[in-house]
């Protein structure tokens, strides 16, 4: 009888330990009624050469794209009153979905905090991270991330109250600066002030809510973040606090902030596919193709345009071997638009953020966007 006790305890103990080690208590049968389940795909990489990977086929067979986004940044990623995600980065999630899946709405948006975003990408919880993320060397190197084409050239700025008389960073000696924790902003703040030899006190919050409270209560004298984010916050500043005119963004650019989509290291097929989906929007603007005139553009005689749109040129449609449909650009432009449309809709001069193109114009207009040739 002791034998049975021991065997019984052994079975129970093993079962309990397996349970405790957390083996896949995941969600499996929630697909009824077409509800999109939050399943995620992990790349099954082959050897350690980092070249293989089939996330592209995984996403295509799954039918939805898991996109890591922001949910509280006006203009880039936020939840509208109707409960939908909108913004510049959200539109680029749709671009990738349109290119890879043929359906711009087949996206599962996963809001992430600044500190979770890279671990979510590394662990395979999301397929692509489009969350106003700055490209840096250490992120390329040690975060296991691959950065794709920059979609937004931004810079870090400093916002102060309009009634304070700061003009330069040197004026802010001894000030308390609010910053969001876990971002390059924090690092840049430190290096910029150190380079100028100016003392300051940082106040780093996990979340924008206490940060905004602290700034409103005059706990800190400056708020540093990407200029596009500051513009968005300023545009929404309530009238009780002075409205947008109660704040001023200093005319100082503290760093280069090239923002773009990010994918995981080790899957160059997926990276190329996403990359050229992004580039398609830039190329479309260069060719002056928008969602309004896409149908006429399909009839165009220009071989460059036809090749770009995947239309047959001398009998054959051009397939660059990205694993996408030859005419993926058509779906992208039709359902989301070209770069100009995406920009103007979300952050353009007539939107709430009111940002001019400047560096974000095409190379033909003096900006930095230079799409590689589609050939």
């Amino acid at each position: 009888m002791r034998v049975w006790r021991l065997i019984g305890l052994a079975t129970l103990a093993t079962a309990a330990l397996l349970l405790a080690s957390g083996c896949s208590l995941g969600d499996d049968d929630d697909d009824d009624g077409g509800e999109a389940a939050a399943t995620t795909g992990a790349t099954t990489t082959g050897g350690s050469d980092g070249g293989g990977g089939n996330l592209l086929s995984t996403v295509q067979s799954r039918g939805t794209l898991n996109c890591g986004v922001n949910e509280a940044v006006p203009g880039f990623g936020f939840v509208s009153q109707g409960g939908d995600f909108e913004g510049f980065d959200i539109d680029y999630c749709k671009v990738v979905a349109a290119a890879v899946l043929g359906d711009a709405e087949a996206v599962e948006y996963k809001p992430l905090t600044a500190e979770q975003r890279f671990t979510a990408l590394q662990s395979g919880e999301i397929d692509v991270l489009i969350r106003n993320t700055t490209r840096t060397a250490s992120r390329d190197g040690s975060e296991g991330a691959t950065f794709l084409t920059t979609t937004f050239y931004d810079g870090q700025g400093m916002m102060v109250r309009a009634d304070s008389d700061y003009q330069e960073l040197e004026d802010m000696a001894g000030a308390t600066i609010c910053v969001l924790s876990g971002t390059t902003t924090e690092l840049n703040l430190e290096s910029q002030f150190q380079a100028r030899g100016v003392e300051y006190t940082p106040l780093a919050f996990e979340d924008n809510d206490p940060l905004q409270q602290a700034f409103t209560a005059e706990r800190c004298d400056g708020w540093t973040s990407d200029k596009s984010q500051l513009a968005g916050i300023r545009s929404n500043w309530p009238d009780a606090q002075g409205g947008p005119d109660g704040l001023r963004i200093l005319d100082v650019t503290m760093s280069k902030e090239p923002l773009g989509p990010v994918v995981r290291d080790g899957d160059s097929n997926w990276a190329s596919a996403v990359d050229w989906a992004i580039i398609a929007t830039l190329q479309a603007e260069e060719f002056d193709i928008s969602s309004e005139n896409i149908d006429e553009a399909l009839e165009s005689d220009d071989p460059e345009v036809r090749r770009f749109l995947g239309q047959p040129v001398e009998g054959e449609a051009f397939d660059p071997g990205l694993g996408l449909e030859p005419d993926y650009a058509v779906e992208v432009i039709r359902s989301v638009g070209n770069y100009e449309e995406i920009y103007n809709r979300n952050v353009g001069p007539d939107s709430a953020l009111g940002l001019e193109r400047n560096l974000n114009a095409l190379w033909t207009d003096g900006g930095l966007h230079y799409p590689p040739p589609y050939r």
């Binding site: 052994a10 350690s48 296991g144 924790s181 876990g182 780093a204 206490p210 290291d265």
Partner: protein, 389 residues
Amino acid sequence: MSATTAAATRRPPPWRDVRVLRVAFQALFLLVVVSLVLFLLDNMVFNLRRLGIETGFGFLDQPAGFAIPDSDFRSSQSVQDAILQGARTTLVVALTGIALATVLGIVVGVARLSPNWLVRRAAALYVESFRNVPVLLIIIFLYLAVFLRLPPIGRAIEWVDVFVLSNRGLVVPSLAATGSTGPFLAVVALALAAAAAAWIWRTRRFDATGQPHHRVLWALGVVAAIVAVGFLATGRPYGLSLPERGDLGVAHGFRLGPEYSALLFGLVLYTASHIAEIVRGSILAVSRGQAEAADALGLSPFQRLRLVVLPQAFRIMIPPLANQYLNLTKNSSLGIAISVYEVTKVTRVSIAQGSPAPQAIAILMLIYLVISLSIALVTNLVNRRLALP
């Protein structure tokens, strides 16, 4: 040779021999556990390598890249130094919190049994309100609704260079070390040693002769005398650093920041409400006969509390009190929500700046384990000393 002796010395076959089975089962169990752990670790190392994230502890020597406010930590120092600075903050918060919470808890616990109805009710109100609300909520609320609502630095409340109160903190005068501080501290150490000697001497004298020992007075007197002599002899061992209010902050002085205060007071208020319940329960657990005997001897209520009831109650309350101390220490990790740079926040920031998450979190858990086990050890020692023989 009889059949019975043969049967007695013959061992059962291995599959029925309890000793063999026990060893075999334990070996199997350990095998399962170890292989499970190795499996998990193997997966982790493989996944980290696949992503190009380092698997060792070399990240500790990298420059941190972030500054820690209210300290001397610079961003060029290593991650290891940052974590140690955070651990130091955690320890200070924990020990200060434990001291304050104990005092407040005992006061409120005794107040719960006060003969005055109003005091009883007020204490009950405090305990029932704070015990049932999550401590994170208390901390965040204190920060956002109390400390941030203090006047901004431009309209700070000042009192003649003695203190400055604003939503950037409370600044009070502090002692600034001068050249002769070192020798002075040596004198203070000497004074404490002499006081301990005086204490032991007076106690021995009391045990031998029975005359009142007044050892507290003697110890204090010895300390005061030696410190006074040392103070005069070393000149001015401490300067006074008075707060000076500027536009952006207060220079000099000792600053108690709003974030730090919110964390500390939140922890103290929450833990004290639990300690008050424990104290009340322990006092009620002391047999009523003790209290009645004290009354019969003519002790005043305060003397009864101090000399008869509380000492016995202490013995009962040490284990649950130790539990509350551990809870307070672990709850100090909630400083992460309001930007207090204790060790959890530092670890979290360094992970976001590129340190590998598994190793960093492992170090974090190790630090908490060490602090927890130390506190448990100390309270166990106290418990054993106070236990009835």
